[in-house]
Assembly symmetry: C2
Homo-oligomer: 559 residues x 2
Amino acid sequence: MTDTLTTNIKHLLTALVLQGVHDFVVSPGSRTTPIALLLAEMQKLRDDVRVTVDVDERSAAFFSLGIAKTTHQPVALLATSGTATGNYLPAIMEASISHIPLIALTTDRPQELQEVGAPQTVHQANLYGDHTKSFTAITVQDNNEDVTDYIDYRVQELVGLAMTKPAGPIQINLPLRKPLMPILGETWPTVATQQILVGQQQMGWQNVQALAALLRKPKAMMLLGPDEVGWNIAKLKQLAAHYQLPVLADVLSNFRPSEYAISGIDSLLAADVIKDDLKPEVVIRFGGTPVSAKVTAWLRDAKITVVQIGQEHAGHDHARHAQTTVIADTDAVVADLLAEPGVRKATFLEQWQKVSATLLSLTMKTDEQGAEYQIPAALADLPENGQLFIANSMPIRDMDNYYVPNHSIKIAANRGANGIDGTISSAFGMAMTGKPTTLLTGDLTLFHDMNGLMLSHQAHVPLTIVVVNNQGGGIFSFLPQAAAKAYFEPMFGTPLPIVIERIARLYDAEYKSVDDLNLLYELVHKPATRLRIIEVKSNREQNVVAHQKLTQAIKEALS
Amino acid sequence: MTDTLTTNIKHLLTALVLQGVHDFVVSPGSRTTPIALLLAEMQKLRDDVRVTVDVDERSAAFFSLGIAKTTHQPVALLATSGTATGNYLPAIMEASISHIPLIALTTDRPQELQEVGAPQTVHQANLYGDHTKSFTAITVQDNNEDVTDYIDYRVQELVGLAMTKPAGPIQINLPLRKPLMPILGETWPTVATQQILVGQQQMGWQNVQALAALLRKPKAMMLLGPDEVGWNIAKLKQLAAHYQLPVLADVLSNFRPSEYAISGIDSLLAADVIKDDLKPEVVIRFGGTPVSAKVTAWLRDAKITVVQIGQEHAGHDHARHAQTTVIADTDAVVADLLAEPGVRKATFLEQWQKVSATLLSLTMKTDEQGAEYQIPAALADLPENGQLFIANSMPIRDMDNYYVPNHSIKIAANRGANGIDGTISSAFGMAMTGKPTTLLTGDLTLFHDMNGLMLSHQAHVPLTIVVVNNQGGGIFSFLPQAAAKAYFEPMFGTPLPIVIERIARLYDAEYKSVDDLNLLYELVHKPATRLRIIEVKSNREQNVVAHQKLTQAIKEALS
């Protein structure tokens, strides 16, 4: 029996899977019916298909983002027609900037219901504007035989487009006409796989030699921003060793721990203790915009030679600190540089190592009330093979400065657009690997995506959430806004009268309140077995004072 | 002392207020700083400015929608740059279709930080595509003297544009460069008010006479869809009396209760009990797409003459049931028709009244377990001067069929795109009038916008939420999807393991679980003093059976 709707949706779904889409995140509705049902059937038939249901589309999209960020594979989203599709926009924006291949399948009403007052019908054509790489509309209910072939070919090509570097999200809009019920229990078609290989862009041997010569200079350095694409970290560490480079390694570079990793650059620059002898002659930079805003400004102001390399971000330079942009793949460049002669002297490296060690020891010694900068050390001993998602605002800043894990773990954050939205959901997406996963977040960010906690039931993966509760937007206490005392609390501090323990109870989570960071250290070492929320109560004012004192101590120790 | 940033933002805010923007809903961030602080100062100085802070931008936008829907005045939204702005899209979509004048003020990074890897920077130009009526970028930090004049004039014009019928949302993007601190405590400028009067479109006397002649036919009828613009209901009731018209009054028409109002048309059509003698010769239709999908299909299939009138929806006719479209203001047309001769006979009206009364009595008599159609009657005695917001999916359908309030109350729902998102927030927006407000919702819709509950703290208005908890998406049990038993619960039923009482505890709400609908009747009559959640436990299967039995009873009584 042939049914055009059923046949073509099977082709569409199979084409997606053939190109590496293994995770589907569905927010059910009426219009999604045929796709959702056939997805459920496909999940039953294939081991390589996983379907997660999340009724909140905003959360579903950030969850997909977290999965794709961790696996570096495309993830498909399915939404019903109408405002549901609009809820994807924040995560699509983040995916666009951080080069994550999301495939947004937006179901729609058929053309005869457009713009005539039909319910759940909005303009869905090119809905996400230039936040998606491509928009395609596919009418699956068209029994012309070329359409099935077209779906096989075009859908596979579209996934290839999403994966082509720089990767990014795409939208496929699917108008569907009633009746919407597919035929279940029939055989599935075989779809021919389109071989799509995304190549590596090389920099050319002359350029490689010139760059290697720069790196052999006595004061060469490496700056690693956030890793989006899943670098070969072992090779990057070899590169540092090969040229004896101190590496300003962003917390999101996945380069820490390493004897070459220098952390705390933002803190060192804030304390103004980088002396002339620490100034590099040349810096080779990989990755996205560093968490530290000060580091690129410093490189620019100190007129240091910077070579920025990568296919995602090279040329994107809001601090205008790089004189040379190399549009080529990081891994390819690293391999080429390893084939060139290296160096054996390590004086410059040792100088930087000393400064970095001093900084970290200072964060340990102080015994300040509410010093949130001590939380990173308490998270150092996450489970082996563990993963860590870091919320924006204060957590990412403190972690970038002071976090050195005991062993290598995968670390991620939403650092494309740096929003606080969708953080819980993205952390759950990361946890879908099955590896023990921890999220560090503030209370405001937790609240913003509280619905994401529902994923503990829907995605069936455990997650540890460490929430630093300082009753509101801690970051603003560090900014000039703090001077506007009359309006500060309602407009910036925005304290929320939310009791974290009650959130835990609502979602049947394990809950612990922790005063002692040594206890936190031990707690997080043990993987969670279900949703676990650990609250660390803090205080915005005390935290500001503690940070100021730390800066003073750094000045005294290193000036 | 003159500071361009401070001066121009004061002009911008004053221009908005002069054109009727009295509510500002702020989601704080760093980039919003100068506007948020000056708004806070303006609120202190002026009685006609109210600022509400909501950290979740999605909720903030739906809250604004609720305010504007109730007051029929423009409401301004303020978001920080980045993904924050993307969270507005669902509510902007709804505002676009239901003609609500939202003014989205999106702060942005300055041009030199665009597309170069700067944090919290996304493409914000024309962000909402054709979901907004207009996009304007205003650089306030430009000390050319013409700019201040331009802001005075252009911002006022833009509010006028948003209010021009059909009304709708607009976006004003505001790139801001650091330093962001405005100067507080200085005098505010005087801005000249631009007189913008939005006129009424008339239909012309010849057309009025022809229409009046139609309405004098023995079997003329009126169909009132949802009222978006705030009709003069008293005049509409006079019109029904003047021509003795039975009125198929949508629950959102604000026309109920009235001796002329016929409710339950969808239920009557489902039971197939509209006999030939009840068939109208001519129907005059006002308002948006009716909640009942069956009524317009019936008018089309029975080839009944339909004249559709209005400035928002006339010509929007997805059932293609109207042969004549009159693009003119409802109130103006009503006034014109009242000036024409009416009729005195009421036979047709009485026939319809009898059918409607029979239907309602049947919903009272049955004593089914889990019959959600009995909930409408339990909400009949809301406080005098009360307001009611109705969630989509099952609640709006049951209410449209069976709700007749004891006295006139204002009723609203998000029936532009019929999404379930943002419902709690929109209800809080409605409650901002200060009148006692009740929301009727299902559990899935409650969950989708759970963050909206935070408005009980931020907006300082009480709200009663009646949540019909049938553990998931009740509506799907009525649709063909219910046949796919193997996949039904995870893909459509989507039961959420959420305990409503714990939600209440999280938000410090008063909580009651109610089995007895008589008790519900009494409870909702008393206005809430803070957030009050009343849970009515239901069961999806029982509810389907009960509805089927009701249809059978209607058939037996009226065939």
